[in-house]
Symmetry: C2
Subunit: 524 residues, 2 copies
Amino acid sequence: MTDREPPLDPSPPARLSLRRVAIDTYRENVAYLHRDCDVYRAEGFQALSKVEVRANGRRILATLNVTSDPRLVQCNELGLSEDAFAQMGVEPGHPATISQAEPPESISALHRKIDGERLGREDFHGIVRDIAEHRYSKIELSAFVVATNRGELDREEVFYLTEAMIASGRRVNWNERLVVDKHCIGGIPGNRTSMLVVPIVAAHGLVCPKTSSRAITSPAGTADTMEVLANVELPFERMQELVREHRACLAWGGTANLSPADDVLISVERPLSLDSPGQMVASILSKKMAAGSTHLVLDIPIGPTAKVRSMPEAQKLRRLFEYVARRLDLSLDVVITDGRQPIGNGIGPMLEARDVMQVLENHPNAPVDLRQKTLRLAGRLLECDPDIRGGDGYAIARDILDSGRALQKMLAIIQAQGAKGFDHLHPELGLLTFDVFAPAGGVITGIDNLQIARLARLAGAPKVQGAGVDLARKLGDPVRAGDLLYRVHAAFQSDLEFARQATEKASGYAVGAASELSHVFVEF
Amino acid sequence: MTDREPPLDPSPPARLSLRRVAIDTYRENVAYLHRDCDVYRAEGFQALSKVEVRANGRRILATLNVTSDPRLVQCNELGLSEDAFAQMGVEPGHPATISQAEPPESISALHRKIDGERLGREDFHGIVRDIAEHRYSKIELSAFVVATNRGELDREEVFYLTEAMIASGRRVNWNERLVVDKHCIGGIPGNRTSMLVVPIVAAHGLVCPKTSSRAITSPAGTADTMEVLANVELPFERMQELVREHRACLAWGGTANLSPADDVLISVERPLSLDSPGQMVASILSKKMAAGSTHLVLDIPIGPTAKVRSMPEAQKLRRLFEYVARRLDLSLDVVITDGRQPIGNGIGPMLEARDVMQVLENHPNAPVDLRQKTLRLAGRLLECDPDIRGGDGYAIARDILDSGRALQKMLAIIQAQGAKGFDHLHPELGLLTFDVFAPAGGVITGIDNLQIARLARLAGAPKVQGAGVDLARKLGDPVRAGDLLYRVHAAFQSDLEFARQATEKASGYAVGAASELSHVFVEF
């Protein structure tokens, strides 16, 4: 509470014994005090107040919950939720002190932003530092996210925010002149091009240390799908060895502490479904810079149920990405793609892993759209190589894929990370299934990305690897009444029921006349 | 989850046994599921997701926390935090179903407001209804509060918001032609004029059924201070009897369910220290309309550490109050007052009760500023009586106070509500004390309302009735170095230490030359 030495007091007032409370409060630190605890009487020590807990030379902020259950905490104890306890790095029973939390220093800057002022570089650094140190409550995080939403940040402010987010965490140095990466802004189920682009460009010799996230609101992230094939939780040293040997990896980024403030902000942005351009640019570019990338190909899909719904919106977003990337000295190539429907056939970790392996094996059932998109993105990324002429990338990527060199590289990466022995010809999909059929004849005129993703999640993806949705028809396909549209796989009866109920409300498919099919004009 | 009949399924998937979890999560419903619970596997059932719990024909929304501690909940159980459990109205062990929460219907309107759009009457009614039904998460509440902050609501929108907040709760009808009330926008410690104005105007014969709040961030609300003297938690029927007999009461408003959406919003506005004009107007006027008031005198204090810091700001706020009041057909008289320092001497429930009783008794130690402000406000309120000529109110109020009729009325109200036997000549103040002295000679040139309020809270107010700050000097008083500025009272050693530490950082007093004393020009 104070910078000076504590007052000389024979009984320091707020010394308690730490206890781990086995409650997962999801990124929000919660401290539990017994209602009869002497300390609790002091000001601000009411439920919802923020308290500061110190032990072992560390300090965290937590929301206070009060309990009368001595099995949770006794009067001389201070309980901490799982994440919070882990942050203290001590054994249960360790002494801890608790005091009212001073408001984070950057709160005045937050209030100025709420009032609509433009903030400067130091303001953003202060706010992001406090966020990374978990000094903001969920309420304050939400206030920041709303106050910086939409037109509230100019591009200079987006740059400051990005820069501050990079500074808040670790930054990787690969000691390579050229470190390439690809990224998609998200929102398209099944869009697992990274798992194909990475082996292609690595087979060519480019360094591509790909770290990915797990799904937050989607039915599978690249890390979830890769985990079907191989271990993805690699210590940083192991990642470095892998990249030295194979030029690439496909690992989960969660252990690397890249842009930790972003992880905290996401915990609020997702429940609000807020994904404003400024926050998206700062989030993506800070993670890429922290991961040591020098060249990035960025995929912006557009479509009626994609994150970006029109070409002018996509172009505006592209310009913002380009402005900030230039300020960061990151070479950026933005590609606007068709986001009208899911990519590939399978939605869910195992189904997506199946599609990926089929493309790598040039299997006759391999989804054509996943292959085509992969080759286009890989071609763009290959052109980061100064020895490759603009326009030649696509053909080179195709050669690498068709010749089996991409498959070999992928198998080597899987082996090196620790193979899981996945048999993509006989994947162990969820055994509980139901099918959804076309209600009438015609042509598939719409597939709702959001609803298909929701169904796959309800069915259990990504936690249940074999759960998800397997699409039998894509946009433009002709159907007769009763034809199979998709099959839902689940492992648990309750999941199957949730998915079935949602399907009955909305199947996610529209069938109509061929003339109703919307077109998108995407540049490539 | 769905409006239609549940599917025919021999084993409904999500039926659990309800359990009360003795954790006070302060207005946020939290549901606890065991990590190994079958239901938890389904989509969205991750920490921080919102779930819908149904039992006994009732339905609540809750944030989900996941635990691995079977002492909290077992695999077949669904735990609910104290408030949430109480809302279900069942015994432990009652069967309940749990499902993912559909987002509140009004979320699309919230998103439009976040995007800066102007909302219509129906939008505000939808949002406020969802808020009152606890369908918004803390994150969504925070988003609403920030998105409607400052210039984001025009006065028509403020009217819609107020109207929706009135509609969200109960509305009292006193069957009286004239029901008067007074209210202060807050922020000034010790400002207990209601406890004096009410007996004065009731002694004159006006109906003044005063319901007040308890302190949220201040060291005492009117309800906390009145509770030193009498019972304030009155059933509504008892309040009606009291008002019939005595024309007035001084009760806690919490049981009356007036403007319940406002109570929910406050749980987010206070931690953010947001008190935007629009929200303030909607909050105050909705509560007054719901309480059945026809005439209101509103006190807006201005000063460097008051909520309103300048006269132009106060005038702008006054106009907004007047606009909305006229639309609501509420007769409103706004009074702008001196808010440069606390009113009276005592800060904290018992100290404030002492001041109030001294004014009523015309005691020589009675704080002059509290008496003067009371007479001015009571005079304005008395002029709501059509038989009193404009300008005569002050003198009539003074006669009622000086003659002891106000004291008699107050004693009758105290007796009727249930007297606590408080002896204001020998109040049982906290026995642990420390004094703060003038560091140098001069004149008191500033008293920081915020810091004095903070000290009183740290010392234990309002929970500890006898805790608080007793001011010995006010603005303009001359002091010599070492003269007493104020005494802090506490009942617990830890509270005393918290207050002492805060005092050492900032005493809240400024001593300087008489010429540095700021003046305010307030109309009366």
